[in-house]
């Protein structure tokens, strides 16, 4: 059975059809990278998978059932760390407020996950005092500490200064190596080539092509994919 599935998702904002029947599945341990022009529905698809938006029709399922809160981790383009909490408190938040752990247990686990993303020395800092790369790593730890079955990344590096992209991609790569199921919207093509199980091209609310990275980049079948790759590379 598939780990995370979307079945025939349709979504519309007013007159704009953002998703026009997207069917999509990620098996356990797979990393799928989605590329496509802005407005193609990539972010909306992720938000539907994270249950942040209710699709007009179609289903999202995890192991054949509806996902529970915190089971699918989400990392945002603009980090969205809670501004009124330190890095440590950000990571503790879900454990305390959703999982109802004691502060002590939550602090212990949160510290462990901050260490995993290599940022435990910044535990007491507020988001305002961290670089974009550090903030994004804290945001990854905040999602991971909930022990999600899958992680979604919505353009996790596109708000970062160039020299800070690497530290975030490194964390994501090691996560992929550990077998985390991941869906990544990103135009980091080298990351896609290197890490992805398959790459998907989205355009106008549809998935136009899906293929393993070698095939996808060297011999794309669809005209739309060729055109897009020629512009991005």
């Amino acid at each position: 059975m598939s780990e995370l599935r979307a079945d025939n998702l349709h979504m519309r904002y007013g007159d704009l059809e953002v998703l026009r029947g997207v069917t999509f599945a990620v098996e356990p341990g797979e990393v799928k990278v989605i590329i496509g022009p802005s407005g193609s529905g990539k972010s909306t698809l992720l938000r539907c998978l994270a249950l942040l938006e209710e699709p007009e029709s179609g289903d999202v399922s995890l192991e054949g059932r509806r996902p529970q809160p915190g089971e699918i981790g989400m990392v945002f383009q603009r980090f969205n760390l809670f501004q009124n909490m330190t890095a440590l408190e950000n990571v503790m938040c879900g454990l305390v407020e959703v999982r109802r752990l004691s502060k002590r247990d939550a602090r212990e686990q949160a510290t462990e996950f901050l260490a995993r993303v290599g940022i435990v020395d910044k535990a007491g800092q507020y988001p305002d005092e961290l670089s974009g790369g550090q903030q994004q790593r804290v945001a990854i730890a905040r999602a991971l500490v909930m022990r999600p079955k899958a992680m979604l990344f919505d353009e996790p590096t596109s708000a970062l200064d160039v020299e800070l992209v690497r530290e975030v991609l490194d964390v994501m790569e090691s996560l992929a190596r550990e077998g985390m199921t991941m869906v990544v919207v990103s135009h980091e093509l080298r990351f896609a080539h290197h890490v992805a199980s398959s790459v998907l091209m989205m355009d106008e609310g549809r998935i136009v092509e899906e293929a393993p990275p070698d095939e996808f980049f060297s011999a794309p079948k669809e005209e739309r994919t060729k055109r897009f790759l020629s512009l991005v590379e």
Binding site: A50, L52, Q68, P69, G70, G73, M74, F76, R78, N80, L81, F82, Q83, N84, M85, T86, C93, G94, E97, V98, G124, Q125, Y126, P127, D128, E129, A139, R142, A143, M146
Partner: protein
């Protein structure tokens, strides 16, 4: 030094029991009305973005009534007209202080609602999204994430409201609440020392407002999230419209 102004009488007024108690009463009335107005204003602010048209309409009506009529009229209405309409208000428990507190709270809530609403809207929607992605309930997101961040934004305008409210308590002198202005009036009624009486009352207002401003800057620091003591770059509450106008 000033012909006709007696420093001695001024000190006498300043240190007299009625002035001291009047100042205390004004402060009490301000604090009570302020707290009630914040609570009421919070629910009005939430109600303004309610899905129900009736609730939104109700909030609009409330705000309209209390902002479009003079505060003095509202005060007199509560004290004189309510007992005429409902017998319950004709009893001993309905004191001038209580009437003033009711009128000022209801009045202030209409203004507070706008401030609270602006504060809640000023918090980046990404904050709520992140909370939802963790599986937090709306109420928890509001309590742990949105409200603490909105507080930072609303402190300066709420400080202004507190000062306004303190000054509005002087209106309560017309319904025989023995606050500062009443103390001054009683003082000059027997001594004819207008200047000294008003100066003494004014000094009390000045002192209260100054203390308040000091407290406000302390609270502002507390809601500035940095681990070091240094002040963070000023986060200016920007009205929504300037986001679009570039």
């Amino acid at each position: 030094m000033l012909a006709g102004f007696s420093t001695h009488i001024f000190w006498e007024a300043l240190s007299s029991g009625p002035f001291w108690r009047g100042a205390l009463l004004a402060l009490e009335l301000t604090i009570v009305s302020f707290v009630v107005a914040i609570v009421l204003g919070f629910f009005l602010a939430i109600g303004r973005s309610s899905k129900s048209r009736t609730v939104r309409g109700g909030v609009f009506f409330y705000t309209w009534i209390f902002r479009a009529t003079p505060t003095l009229l509202q005060l007199l209405f509560v004290w004189d007209a309510l007992p005429q309409i409902w017998g319950v208000f004709r009893q001993g428990w309905f004191t001038p202080f209580l009437a003033a507190a009711v009128a000022l709270s209801l009045n202030e809530a209409a203004y507070m609602a706008e401030i609270v609403r602006a504060g809640l809207l000023s918090v980046d929607p990404g904050q709520e999204l992140a909370g939802r992605a963790l599986g937090m309930s709306r109420a928890r997101i509001l309590r742990r994430i949105i409200v603490p961040q909105a507080v930072r934004i609303v402190i300066p305008p709420m400080g202004n409201e507190f000062i306004t409210l303190l000054k509005l308590t002087s209106l309560a002198s017309v319904i025989s609440v023995t606050e500062l202005l009443t103390a001054a009036q009683n003082f000059y009624a027997s001594t004819f020392s207008y200047a000294e009486a008003f100066a003494a009352a004014a000094l009390y207002y000045l002192v209260i407002v100054s203390v308040l401003m000091a407290i406000q800057s302390r609270i502002e620091k507390k809601f500035t999230w940095t681990s070091r003591g240094r002040p963070r770059r000023e986060t200016v509450p920007v009205p929504a419209i300037s986001h679009d106008a570039r």
